[in-house]
Amino acid sequence: MTATLCLTLFAPLAGALILALGGRALPRAASGLLACLAVGASLAGAILSWAQLKDGQELAVHLFNWFEAGGLRVSATLLYNPLCAAMTTMVAFVSLIIHVHSLYFMRDDDGWVRYFCYLNLFVFFMQSIAMADDLVFLFMGWEGVGFCSFSLIGFWYAEPKNVLAGNKAFLVTRIGDVAFLGALAVLFSATGDLSIQHLSGNAPVMAAGTLTLVGLLLLVAATGKSAQLPLLVWLPDAMAGPSPVSALIHAATMVTAGVYLLIRTFPVLLHADAVALQAVAVVGALTAFVAACSALVQHDIKRVLAWSTISQVGYMFLGVGAGDPSGSFFHLLVHAFFKSLLFMVAGIIIQALDEEHDIFRMGARVRGLVPGAALAFFCGAAALAGLPPFAGYFSKGRILENALNMAQTGQGVWIFVWAAGTLTALLTAVYSFRVFLLAFTGRPAQPPETGTEKTPAAMLHVLWPLALLAVTAGLMDLPAHFAHLVGVPAQWLDHMTGLVPAAPHGAEWTGTVAEGLDAGLAVLGLVVALALYGPWREHRAPAPDRGVARFLLNGWGLDALYMNGVARPYVRAASRVWQNVEDRLVDAAALGLGSLALRAGGRLSKWGIERLSNYLLWLLLGMVAMLVVMAAIGIR
């Protein structure tokens, strides 16, 4: 078991190291294949480990001691349980497909070795997050994925815009990381131990106040990494990176790391005061709604997907907050499949149209250029919209059902959460089909400005497993009445992960209502999108973005708010400090001391080297002084 777990974790690291140290010496094809092999080994390790894991078993695997300081003992310890098994397998599987896709996508790129090196390194750090037991070890992975994300967003560093987007992502996520460190500090001072396993075991007997504080700090940490309110501004800009990177890091894995952390440490939230879970749910519901509104009006196909990722991760937060980590994890897996698919198909189209991002300039011609892309994109978009029977219908339905159950408690906050989530479901369906219809059907509303380029067909074909999963991944966790129809075990994922939902079981009717509502909203969204953007839509330029549309396009003005409210005042304060403290205090003090020494030296030199007889006099005086001192203190 330890061997296969090590293979899962360290194969990508080995690949990254080989590529970093000797990748340039290898032929191009060999280095690409090596990266794919490393991730393939990771996938094999994940599957083999899972096969050896018994139901409901939880293993702590100690690899080595890392460091020890002030009573804190940090070791590379893995906590392997069914949840972790599913996560590592998903990460390795999606990463493998994205690596193979990248072989085609990056075929002409100069940064080939650098690209695959970072990609492999990312998989290593992501697997550390998925498997770590020690929270400090997990934090290493947490920072590592942040670094890889930064490097890959700014991958095409020749354009300053891309580098700035990378910087922004790095800086904004650091805010959440400070909260993570805060949570570690609180936990360590309370228990002296930072193992997730111990934490889960001790949570029932710990003080609720401590747990609430830790839970809220972890929530802030997760909002940074998962691009939730108020720290969501970095993700839309992160689309500056190559599309497979967006698929891997900013859709399937890294942005869901925050959710995974909350699921992994769910006992903390469960035994904390109710406010902790409510905060998670409210953050999730608000983000889902805010981001869905912004996704409605975007022109850039990747920005639509970025906002929809934020919105969908918001659903996952909502699921955790409603006390059902298993349902949230279900959505995490399903989302990873369909969203990475969407990003990569978008990347193919963008490449085929020679870097055209604007959906209003795409239209039906795309279908001729990339045969099959429309079908693949539709699978993803329908899953995103939650159209039955695509996978997203079941996973999102599950979350909304939980929200409805909680809303029945009659508390205003839960009613708000449910209402926001349900409204978002409609918006999601509208923007999903909007982007599909605009990008793949009808004549482009605006004349195309770019040429076209032939893309390798294999680039699309490697995505079919993801498309298949986008359609069928719902089978993992079907409710009983659907499971009977197709003959698969009901709630398989719930039983497998063994995560106990804390949400109250609602009445019979809530499930039916939630399912009906969800399906109805998805269909309604499809109808609305067809009416507004159907293939027969009028051939005219989109209305200029004014007023509300402009506000939504710019992400509710959050960027401007942070720029004017935080960044600019900070820069101003920094320049004040620079001028007043640095120039007028620190520098002035140093310079003043220097000139003082110079002047004193000048004075001294005047009566120092003038006359030999002065030397003798000083010699005498010095000797007298010494003798006086010696006489005064005595010699023993």
């Binding site: 080297i609 006359r611 030999l612 007889s613 003798l616 005498l620």
Partner: protein, 101 residues
């Protein structure tokens, strides 16, 4: 020992002080060298007195050393003084200030 040690020490101190004042106050290199000689001999007197007081021959031996050192010193010193005279045509030590310029 007929003369008390204290008297000899006082005498030696006076001698040393005379040499010191000579060294500091005179503006003639030869007089400065003379002052140094007087100070050395003051130290020698203390050694002789101590040898007599404690009946230890080492003190008298040390005086012989001092005489040797004084002879060597005066030889080197006079040579230097002669060089200074040749160079500056003066025996004033304050005329030696080329290092400053």
């Amino acid at each position: 020992m007929i003369v008390p040690l204290e008297h000899v020490l006082l005498f030696a101190a006076a001698l040393f002080f005379i040499g010191l004042v000579t060294v500091v106050s005179r503006r003639n290199l030869i007089m400065i060298l003379l002052g140094v000689e007087v100070m050395l001999n003051a130290a020698g007197v203390v050694f002789v007195a101590a040898a007599l007081r404690w009946w230890d021959i080492a003190g008298q031996g040390m005086v012989l050393f001092i005489m040797g050192v004084a002879a060597a010193e005066i030889a080197v010193g006079l040579t230097l003084v002669f060089r200074v005279w040749r160079r500056t045509r003066s025996l004033n030590p304050d005329s030696l200030k080329t290092l400053k310029d």
